[in-house]
């Protein structure tokens, strides 16, 4: 099975090509793209958030068959060393991550929000970023989203 990930056509190994397999495990075990994390397996925590055709999607409950022909973006494709995403820069400026485990999902949720809404309110952020963080990075996540949004507006 082929999957379009971060702008590239990638061939999944046969063992990771079952249409019922959640995208999360195809990425992690099939393609070794381990930046997308497993947190709960029931779409409750958001650690596995990726973009499917630009939509923030919890990949732990998204079967591969729902990804056919769609553009998948993972944390590895959010920016590049030369062109980091504005959120990645804001994340570093605010020193957001602590343990860092939930942060890929946080960033992907925030990036999907900013793609649609260049000037999110607190309520917009609350609604779009329902990801769980056990280390309590929420105040800095919020500040970094606003900082990145400020930069995008310019």
């Amino acid at each position: 099975m082929e999957l379009k990930v971060n702008g590239q056509a990638m061939t999944l190994p046969e063992i990771a090509s079952d249409p019922a397999m959640p995208l999360l495990w195809a990425l992690r075990d099939g393609l070794h793209l381990t930046g997308t994390k497993f947190g709960c397996g029931i779409a409750a925590c958001g650690a596995c958030t990726v973009h499917v055709d630009g939509q923030a999607t919890r990949s732990c409950v998204t079967p591969l068959e729902a990804c056919r022909g769609k553009a998948i973006t993972t944390i590895e494709g959010l920016g590049s060393p030369d062109h980091p995403h504005a959120l990645q820069l804001a994340w570093l400026a605010e020193q957001v991550p602590q343990c860092g485990y939930c942060q890929s999902g946080m960033l992907m949720a925030a990036a999907a929000l900013l793609a649609k809404n260049k000037n999110p309110s607190d309520a917009d952020i609350d609604a779009a970023v329902s990801n769980l963080c056990r280390c309590g990075t929420y105040p800095r996540v919020r500040a970094a989203i606003k900082q990145a949004a400020g930069g995008l507006k310019k």
């Binding site: 495990w25 793209l33 709960c40 570093l92 991550p97 860092g100 485990y101």
Partner: protein, 777 residues
């Protein structure tokens, strides 16, 4: 006093035993040029520092990065003394030499309060504990101790290396050493730059350091600065490697199903049917390992295939031999035991001053309250996992662990090899909070790997297994009594708590070889036979860790008895962020608030007066109160509460602002002030306070684990809410840097938040909360 002395005698005995085992060079934790393996042309100068050929400093990192910023803070100490930018410090895994042990974590267990520090018994016990800790060399990241432990050791190691490099430059360039300076890892003379560290390392290794001096604080250019964390770039682009991200050639994956009943067993299962499922390679029966409940593991070619197959397991689960646990019954038994012990003057009195019973009887106003706290789970975002490979008699383990030495030991025990046949790689930890001080998941992974013919296998617990098979923060019930005189001044305090001992249970799991010594200690601790025979038989010593946060009473109350009954309920209990402080601050600061109310005093002023003689406590309380606008009017529907608590050497005060939303507390703002001694990296400290507050609010509002018929009822996030972005208050932190050595940061921000919230709720509603979590009532 007598009992404390006896405890120390016990520790002394242990020390004598251990000193006999190892032949360590006296006092030194410096190691030597050969402690670290020389690779890629790196030159070892001591057990901590190597110099790479390009002049970079390679630091042996002995602590686990779990979000607390320790890799950066410790690198900062070394960068400071070696005069290199932080970016020139590279990390290498420290290995298992005893110099990498954690002495500060041991010192954190010396059972004294803030008013004891000048006493000879405190000084002696600190000295002997440090000696014992040095000899044991147990490496753990926990107890908010990493920076305190590294403070002298790493600065000395770096300063010694610097002195050797300077000496080598003096020899090479034939210049007096006192005419040389260091800038960014290059030795300079008035005439210009001479050589960088990489060019001098080989000579430096042969050059004695002479007299080594640490920098004066006035010369610091890096300590005290909010330098960015070194690990964060990798944590925003997905490249950071956590335990679950280990990928080795030929790696396979395993899922696990424990017996749902804690401590239960496994019977026959539909193993053949499960093995026939797609992608499945093996089904492995796992007995209890390092405290785990028995389980089946299913190995498959991907995590998904393993998870799906594990779900299809049908097992005849066996009930636990000692009966099915029930947390409601345990809480009722703890309350009965706390009340009985309180009435009988029973329990181990860590604090006994004056005549509490007599003063209580004569007090003008008497208060009595029962406080309680439930079992709690750690709920790290990265579920328990470990990758292991057993190949040609050698075991390799990749583990997100807080205890690499214990991980090595359990791997060796399970595989039946000597510890030196085990290599442990510590990955980043997706949260620790004390859960990863246990090594059950490491032992399980090695056990499974033994079946896999040399293939590396990654064992991944589901969220449900993680939540239902934790080592939980013990539940506790305490009876608190106080007496005020006619002027409203507290004259008597008597507290008796009952909860499971923590350290003995943990030690049985991680240090089974030390169990006989612990038994000996237990017996020494109760030489007068005051411990009931039943407790002694079960090996429950007075447990400082389960008692801490109450007996180190900061308030000047002349007659006080603070006692604890260590119980053994059978619930697997472990170290949870803040440990005993996590709930005892709620008991102590809630009850003090009750006393202030009874005395018709302002809660801040009441505390401030009782903290006379403890300037750190008074200063943080004052700062938090001022910054929060204490005493100034709030809009209708908002109220403030305060708490101050010392833990892990640091003192933290917090003021919480709360409102009522749908009849329930909604936290709007938390103002925090901390004195944690010298601040190495203020940015990290501030963020740890935020972390502690959010973690503590989750526990205060919703945190609970209920066990019914032996099974934990909370299975995943829908049953076990964590605070979300939308619920998170505004948090404001103020640092009051002290001039003493650094003290704890990773935990001390947590204990005060629950009582500050409950006290605010009382101020708002008149409803006094004495039971956690607040939302359950």
């Amino acid at each position: 006093m007598k009992r404390r002395t006896l405890l120390l005698t016990g520790t002394g005995a242990l020390g004598a035993l251990v000193v006999g085992w190892g032949v360590m060079p006296p006092r030194s934790r410096l190691g030597d040029a050969h402690t670290l393996p020389a690779v890629d042309g790196q030159v070892g100068l001591n057990g901590w520092i190597k110099i790479a050929s390009d002049g970079a400093v390679v630091l042996a990192m002995n602590r686990s990065e779990m979000g607390q910023g320790v890799h950066t803070a410790l690198s900062q100490l070394v960068a400071e003394e070696l005069d290199v930018p932080l970016g020139r410090v590279r990390l290498t895994e420290a290995g298992h030499d005893a110099i990498y042990g954690n002495i500060a974590a041991f010192l954190g267990n010396v059972p004294f309060g803030p008013r004891d520090h000048e006493r000879a018994v405190f000084k002696f016990s600190t000295w002997i504990t440090a000696k014992v800790g040095r000899e044991l060399g147990l490496n753990l990241t926990g107890g908010s101790s990493s920076t305190a432990d590294a403070w002298d050791t790493l600065r000395l190691a770096a300063a010694t290396a610097r002195a050797q490099l300077l000496g080598a430059a003096a020899l090479k360039h034939r210049l007096p050493v006192d005419e040389l300076t260091v800038k960014d890892g290059t030795i300079h003379h008035a005439s210009g730059p001479l050589s960088h560290y990489g060019e001098l390392a080989a000579q430096a290794a042969l050059t004695p350091p002479g007299q080594v001096r640490l920098k004066d604080s006035k010369q610091w250019t890096q300590i005290g600065r909010a330098l960015p964390r070194a690990d964060l770039a990798a944590k925003v682009d997905g490249s950071a490697r956590f335990g679950l991200d280990v990928r080795q050639q030929g790696q396979v994956f395993a899922a696990i199903r424990h017996c749902p009943m804690l401590g239960g067993g496994i019977g026959p299962a539909n193993v053949d049917a499960v093995r026939a499922r797609p992608g499945v390679l093996r089904v492995v029966a796992l007995g209890p390992i390092a405290g785990s409940t028995a389980a089946y593991a299913v190995v498959a070619r991907t995590t998904w295939h393993a998870r799906e197959a594990a779900k299809a397991l049908e097992v005849d689960w066996q009930p636990p031999p000692n009966g099915r646990l029930d947390s409601k019954a345990i809480l009722a038994a703890l309350e009965a035991e706390a009340r009985r012990a309180h009435a009988a003057g029973d329990g181990f009195a860590f604090l006994k001053q004056g005549d509490a019973a007599g003063a209580l009887a004569g007090a003008a106003t008497k208060l009595e309250a029962v406080y309680s706290a439930p079992h709690l789970a750690h709920v790290t975002m990265e579920p328990m996992n470990c990758t292991a490979q057993v190949l040609d008699g050698h075991v390799t383990v990749w583990a997100p662990t807080q205890v690499p030495g214990f991980a090595r030991d359990v791997a060796a025990r399970v595989a039946g090899v000597a510890p030196d046949k085990v290599t442990v790689h510590v990955t980043y930890l997706g949260g620790g909070f004390g859960r990863r001080l246990d090594i059950d998941f490491v032992g399980q992974a090695v056990r499974v790997a033994l079946e896999m013919g040399g293939l590396p296998v990654q064992l991944v617990w589901s969220r449900e297994e993680d939540m239902t098979h934790d080592f939980y923060r013990p539940a506790e019930v305490s009876v608190l009594q106080a007496g005020l005189d006619a002027a409203g001044k507290p004259v008597a305090l008597a507290i008796t708590g009952a909860s499971d001992a923590i350290v003995p249970r943990w030690a049985e799991r991680v240090l089974p070889g030390l169990a006989p010594t612990l038994d000996l200690l237990n017996r020494n601790a109760f030489p007068d036979g005051r411990a009931p025979a039943a407790l002694l038989a079960r090996g429950d010593a007075p447990d400082k860790t389960a008692s801490e946060g109450l007996f180190e009473l900061p308030y000047a109350i002349p007659n006080a008895r603070v006692a604890h009954r260590p119980t053994h309920s059978g619930v697997p209990v472990g170290m949870w962020r803040g440990v005993g402080h996590s709930h005892h601050a709620f008991f102590k600061e809630g009850f003090i608030d009750e006393l202030a109310h009874a005395a018709k005093a302002d809660p801040v002023a009441f505390r401030f007066e009782l903290l006379e003689g403890l300037p750190r406590h008074q200063a943080v309380l004052k700062r938090a109160a001022e910054a929060a606008g204490w005493g100034q009017p709030l809009p209708e529907g908002l109220a403030r509460g305060v708490a101050v608590h010392e833990s892990f050497g640091s003192v933290v005060a917090q003021v919480v602002e709360v409102t009522k939303q749908d009849g329930r507390p909604r936290v709007k703002r938390v103002v925090c002030a901390i004195d944690c001694g010298i601040v190495v990296n203020p940015g990290i400290v501030v963020r740890q306070m935020e972390s502690c507050i959010v973690f503590g609010l989750t526990a205060a509002l919703w945190g609970r684990i209920d066990i019914v018929d032996g099974e934990v009822q909370q299975k995943s996030f829908p049953d076990h809410p964590l605070m979300t972005m939308a619920q998170c208050p505004v948090i404001e932190t103020h640092l009051l840097p002290g001039d003493g050595p650094p003290t704890g940061v990773g935990e001390p921000g947590l204990p005060p938040v629950a009582p500050a919230l409950a006290n605010a709720w009382f101020a708002l509603t008149g409803d006094r909360k004495r039971k956690l979590p607040l939302m359950s009532q």
